[in-house]
Each structure stands twice: as C-alpha cells, then as structure tokens.
C-alpha cells in the first residue's frame, strides 16, 4: 500500500510538472507517430501506438521502460554496441535531443495491462523458467534473474530493465545477441557472462516465464 500511494504522489507531481516538459513530449510524440522526416521512421509502425511492441516479429515493448534505459539503447544502436540492421539507421538519424524526447515519450507511457503471454510454451517450460528466474542455475554460476531485475522481474532503476511484460521472442533474441557478441552495451558486462552460460532451452524457458507475467502487478 505504501508503495502505491507513493507512486500516486509521484504521478501527481509529474502532472504538475508536465507543462514545463510539453515541448519535449510533443517532439517525442511526433517522432513516435510520424518519424522525424530525416530518416527516422515512426516508432509506432513497429512498436505500436501504445508501445506494446509485436511479439511475433520480435519488436519489444517500449511503454513504461525507464527513459534513461531507452535513450541508452538508441545510442547503442548508433554506436554499434547493439548490432541491429533495422535500428541502426533510425538511431543514427535521431539527434541527441530527439533521442531524449522519444525515450521520454515511451518511458512515460502506461505499459499494457495484459501479459504478452507465451502461448507456444508448455507449462513445464514456464515452470523451468520460473525456477531459473527466481533461484538461478548455480551449478553453472547463473544467479536468479530477479536478483538484479527486481522482484518478479519488474526492473530496477535505469540499468536493470523490466523483463516482466516483455515479449518472449525479444528476451530470447537478446540472450542470443549477448552470446554472439551482437550486444555488448550492458553496464560493466554484467549480463554477457550470464547469457553465455545459458543453454538455448534455458533461455527459452526464462523468456517464456517473463512473457507470461504482466508488466505491472494486477490488482487483486
């Protein structure tokens, strides 16, 4: 209860501060919906108007992710520490100001209430994923995902993004990207070693588990 009321107070403060941020928010919304007219296409085309992404295509949810995290990912696509042929030209076409604005736009969005789901995954696979997520696989020196990504994988600060409510395809692709050195922008290389030690089945199980959780806890 304490955390909910604190969240509401913060939301209230955010609303009060909104007029000051309005130009940046407008810029972010414009880029998200229409692109910037200089090579960056509209984010919403792939990531959705509501920022929920598209699981079938591996496009991640952006809504509600930490703004600083989103901005850093765009810079990483630009500098190649996230090798991604689709995102690189888009990131390169955005100015520093535009990156900040569009990150603020998606970061400020409410995440979808429903879990993306892991329809293709068996109950056993999700249970195996939950065990790794909560307890780790210490025989091969893999800590519990929730140790850094927070209880139930809802993210911690700007450096440990939420995994709950993210598409299984995207989580899976990222673990692959770390394993194949296509992604190396993790702070202090905290994720790369962990990813290297996961088998393909384990990665799929963890991805299915987190995709089966909604981004935010549901009110009971």
């Amino acid at each position: 209860m304490a955390s909910i009321s604190a969240g509401r107070v913060l939301a209230g403060l955010g609303l009060l501060a909104l007029p000051l941020c309005a130009p940046a928010a407008d810029l972010g919304a414009t880029i998200a919906k229409q692109g910037n007219g200089e090579g960056a296409t509209a984010c919403a085309t792939c990531h959705g108007a509501d920022g929920s992404g598209q699981g079938a295509a591996g496009f991640p949810r952006l809504a509600g992710l930490p703004q600083a995290y989103l901005a850093k990912q765009l810079r990483s696509f630009g500098d190649g520490s996230r090798a991604n042929a689709t995102m690189k030209p888009i990131a390169n076409a955005l100015s520093a100001k535009e990156i900040k604005a569009v990150a603020a736009y998606y970061g400020g969005m409410e995440p979808p209430a429903k879990a993306p789901g892991a329809a293709g995954a068996s109950a056993e696979r999700k249970a195996a994923g939950e065990a790794i997520a909560k307890r780790g696989l210490w025989a091969k020196d893999v800590p519990a995902c929730t140790k850094c990504h927070g209880p139930d994988g809802r993210g911690v600060g700007d450096n440990f993004p939420p995994l709950a409510g993210q598409h299984a395809s995207y989580i899976r692709n990222q673990i692959d990207a770390w394993q194949s050195d296509k992604r190396s922008n993790d702070p202090n290389q905290l994720m790369s070693g962990v990813a290297q030690r996961l088998s393909s089945d384990e990665a799929a199980a963890v991805a299915a588990y987190f995709a089966s959780l909604p981004a935010e806890p549901t009110d009971q």
Binding site: A2, R135, W138, D141, C148, L190, G193
Partner: protein, 321 residues
Amino acid sequence: MSMTSAFHRTLAGLGGLLLAAGGVQAADDLKAQKELAPSPEVGSTGYHQPPALSDLPDDQFGEAVRRGRKAFIQTQKYAGKYVGNGQNCSNCHLGGGTVPNSAPLWGAWPVYPKYRGKNDHVNTMDERIRGCFTYSMDAQDSAAGHPPPPDSQVLKDMQAYMFWMARGAAVGKSLPGRGYKAVSKPEDGYSVARGDKVYQDQCAICHGDDGQGRFADDGTQIFPALWGPRAYNWGAGMHRVNTAAAFIKYNMPLGKAQPAAAKGALTDQQAWDVAAFINSHERPQDPRFDGSIAETADKWHQHECLYDSKVRGHKLGQGVN
C-alpha cells in the same frame, strides 16, 4: 588486556555455556581469532549436491524446511523482529545457501557443534545462527533488541533447512566449497584508495555510490547496503578485510564471478583493495563495544580489519545510529 579479564569477560557475556565447553583457548589465540582452516579442493566427484526442493515431503518436516528457507532468503520479512539492519542471510550465502565457495549451509551443517575462537567455546548450530543475527544482522538494533532466543521456532526452521541441504554429506567432514575460498594477502598489502576506484567501477551500479544499497518503497531489499546503518556491524565476519576479499573474489560482481567454477572476476589485489575500501566506512557498532574503541579493538579486533584505524581523517569504530 590480561588473560584473566578476557576470561571473565567471555564468561560474563556467554553465561554458563562456557562451563560446559571444557578447555579455554590461550588468550593470545583468542585475541588473534584464528582463521578457518581452508576447505579441501574439489575433486572429480564435484561439490555436495543439496536435494531438490521438489523432493521435500509434505509433512511437518517439509513445512519446517520451507519456513527455514523463506526466513533465510527473506530474513527481513520472516524474521524481521531480530534484524536491526537491512540484510538477509542470503546476501552473504548466495543462492539461498546452496552455492559452493559462498559459505554454503550444507558445508557448515556437518561440522557443528564446533569450537570457535570468536567466542572461545563449543557452539551448537543454534548458537552459531544466533551469532549471525548478533553481528551480520545487527540484532542489537532490531525490534526485539536481541537475536532469536535459543531453540526458538525460527532457529529450528533454519536448522531444518540446513539439515535438509546437507543430506548425504559426511558428518564431521570439511567439504570442498565450504566457507569462502581464501585469497592470499597481496605482497604489498592493500590500498583503500585503489579500492575506492574498484568500488566505483564494479560495485556502485548495484550497491550505490555511497554503499547504501537499494531498497523498495516498502523497505524490501533489492541490493544490500555495504556500510551505514543498514549494513553488517563491526563485529560481523565480513568486516574483516580478508573475509570480505574472499567473498568478493569468487562471488562478486554477481553474475561475473563464478563461485561454483571458483573463478573470480576481479584480481586478488582488486578484491583486497575493494574489501578494504568497503570496510573503511562506519557501520553499526560492535555489540561487544565496552565504551572504548581502543579497548574493544584490543579485545576483539586483533585480526585483519580497520576498526580503530584512522581512514580519510576519520577514526573508525564509532558506529552509526
């Protein structure tokens, strides 16, 4: 300090237990608080494997193990009355006490009851866990003001959990992976200033720029505090530079170090330097503090630590409130 006064102090602090222990360690040994003998190297058969949680029976014993495990992992939530800081047992015993070279519970269980130089008598496991509450969990500042009483339910539950995890291990045997794997002190010692740099590069991302850790709005610990009021106190084993270096070397940063493979992420020198830096900050007072830092240091801190040292112009050992 004389042998007699040390003896009397110990007696006063520990009551009649000492009477039953038989034999008293020489005063010099007590002051030196000898380190644990190293555990044997792991052989081709690997480390002890604790049984799977799914094998737990659905009976009173199984329930006790489950409760013990919960109290061990979420100590603030399930034994919070006796926790005076922001710690959980599993902060120093990774993987819920299952991980080799991370002071696994299955390594401790078979060697108790055991003589300990720290308090100069034979300790049961019940008393040993109370020691963890007294120092690492800073029970003096908890709601209860003291560790769980002897033979209380939480201690029974935690021991049930330990016993369960040690199933099949040889009683009385020091198992490979027990405790922390010692890291020899570097030839040129250690440097708090170099450790500061290691800390900022490797640790601050989780533990915070100021060692304060990270806590959710409801007080749930996300990343443990390393100094300040939410950290282990000046009597905890982790305040010793060698102990912290051993823990850090094979366990930190989380996900980079590989305790089961006994592979460190930091060099030995970095582990010692950053262990010294972390332990060059104030933390809750040693519960054995008798009003004088110098006297407390003489009686209880004749080991590798910075209690009673002056660092960055500050005399350490004042405690925090």
